[in-house]
Amino acid sequence: MSEPEVAGSDIYLRPELRFEQGKKYMVCAKSGHGKSSLLNFIYGINKEYEGTIEMLSENEEGQKSLGTHILSYMFQDLCLFPELTAIENVQLKNDLTNFKSDSEIEKMLTALLPAEKRHQPVASLSLGQQQRVAAVRALCQPMQFLMMDEPFSHLDKETAQKVADMVVAEVDRQGAGLIVTALDPIEMLPFDIKLNL
């Protein structure tokens, strides 16, 4: 991106930006302004940037467990496995972390999805339903930060609120930080800090 484009940014070209564990951040920007790129930089799957990103957490298990024990990431493209059912998609992640019991997973999905949809391959679900599966999956791991890339883009307000409540409950329970990106400001989450990208 060119300099004039990022001139008003709270993030790009700043000498330092610190995300603190326990706080909730909203990152707003128009589409194409690099919201996903920012989260991918932090998650370590995109290295096309200048500058440094440091994890200041005390992490005994090292870099390997970043994606399973420190950072949880709900991707914009969801990264679901279309041939697996909603429950299986969540279990596939939980197999790695062993964080939630089967009944807890069932309970979370029940709150967000109609019964018959939970056992259907994800490919047959609507985009909004897939978004809910991805959100539940992101909660199935120990974390210091939860990053969500436009998590409510395909949800009506009522459903978005249900998902938001579930996310806040889990994040608060773990004492984790939350970084949510959005095109327009989101009202259903109690953000501490709002940043423009």
Binding site: C79, F81, E83, L92, D95, L96
Partner: protein, 395 residues
């Protein structure tokens, strides 16, 4: 870690026909290589004449027996001039004489209560031309032991001719050396009986040999002090494949025992044949490896999205690779085991025939050793390649 769901996802990415093709080609290629190597190890000693008690590069030379010489026996002996000429040839390293026995000899062997007797004869050559265990090949004037070396043809004549037609058991070289019999030596009004044993076989020399010391002594003791001229010579060449050899001997009307030259030709052809087989089979193996590597590459390319998504939700390349490593590892090991079994079974077919005639190691150790080596090489190789392919797909 519960890998049930991961395996469910990955199982669908395999291409069974390609794996079957890999199993088949690896099996065929490896079975041929294993069998060829084993056959080479088994048969090489038989072809390179290591069973022969004669030094390598040595032939026996005699004069052609013609109609004229039949009447006048003098013609079959070598005179001094001929000996000097032969000694002077550049390809001749050494010439030695045969010494003949000048007394009567009889052999007696007891077979189920019956005693068979036969007249026969002895010759001797200097001991350095023989490669027999020195503990076997000794003679002592006070002892009654007399070792013999007989032509290999005698044993073959019995095994493949007589035993075959009379349904008698065949005899191996090792068995033959266990048989003892009596040799009666007489002359000059004296007689002596020896316990005798066959300690070696020779394909190069058509004679029955005894230690040189014995014959020198016995000729003096029992002999009629007749003529000591030689009708046969032992010639050691510097290089048996020298092309001047055939023309010299032909030009001087001399006979060569062709065995040395023939057998080195056969050994050469055998070696070339085996090398050719191994080369073809190695190409088959390399192709099968290349084939499965390409197949794996195709799997990785086709399912790049799946792998990237797994990686994004926290699966490590190692965890993603493990399924393919396990499948290819098991498939490869099964294929190697099957190839080793096929090779061992095929080998048993020829070993049964040969074991009664020659001393062959029945274990098939070459096959097993090579099979283990291929497993040790291939399985880690695949593990490394699969992991690399998957890591590469994330870039």
């Amino acid at each position: 870690m519960n890998t049930h769901l991961l395996r469910k996802l990955q199982r669908k990415t395999l291409i069974p026909t390609q794996i079957a093709g890999y199993i088949a080609t690896l099996l065929v290629g490896l079975a041929i290589v294993l069998l060829s190597l084993q056959a080479y190890c088994d048969l090489r000693p038989l072809l390179t004449q290591q069973t022969d008690v004669f030094k390598a590069h040595t032939v026996t030379v005699s004069k052609n027996v013609t109609m004229f010489k039949t009447a006048n026996k003098e013609g079959i002996y070598f005179d001094d001039k001929e000996l000097t000429s032969l000694n002077e040839q550049p390809f001749v390293k050494e010439v030695a004489h045969f010494t003949s026995a000048q007394f009567n000899t009889e052999a007696a062997v007891s077979f189920g209560g019956q005693t068979l007797r036969t007249d026969f004869f002895f010759e001797s050559v200097p001991d350095e031309y023989l490669d027999v265990e020195s503990s076997d090949w000794h003679w002592d004037s006070t002892a009654n032991y007399l070792p013999l070396v007989i032509p290999e043809d005698y044993l073959n004549l019995y095994n493949f001719g007589f035993a075959e037609s009379q349904s008698m058991p065949v005899v191996s070289e090792a068995m033959l050396s266990q048989i003892t019999f009596n040799v009666v030596v007489s002359g000059n009004g004296k007689q002596r009986v020896y316990d005798s044993r066959i300690v070696g076989l020779s394909s190069k020399i058509n004679s029955i040999l005894v230690p040189n010391d014995f014959l020198q002594w016995a000729n003096a003791e029992f002999g009629n002090s007749g003529d000591k001229r030689s009708s046969r010579l032992l010639v050691e060449f510097t290089d048996a494949s020298d092309e001047r050899i055939p023309s010299y001997f032909e030009g001087h009307g001399l006979n060569l025992s062709q065995n040395e030259l023939e057998s080195s030709k056969i050994a050469f052809l055998f070696r070339v044949g085996i090398m050719f087989l191994i080369a073809i089979a190695t190409i088959i193996i390399i192709l099968s490896i290349a084939f499965i590597v390409m197949s794996l590459n195709l799997i990785v390319q086709r399912n790049r999205n799946l792998f990237v998504n797994l990686y994004k939700i926290g699966y490590t390349p190692r965890q993603i690779a493990r399924f393919y490593q396990t499948v290819i590892g098991i498939v490869t090991l099964c294929s190697i085991a099957a190839a080793a079994t096929v090779a061992l079974m095929t080998r048993n077919l020829y070993v049964e025939k040969l074991a009664s005639l020659f001393d062959i190691d029945k274990g098939g150790s070459t096959i097993l050793a090579c099979a283990v080596i291929s497993a040790i090489v291939l399985v880690p190789l695949y593990n490394m390649l699969i992991l690399r392919m998957i890591k590469k797909s994330f870039r």
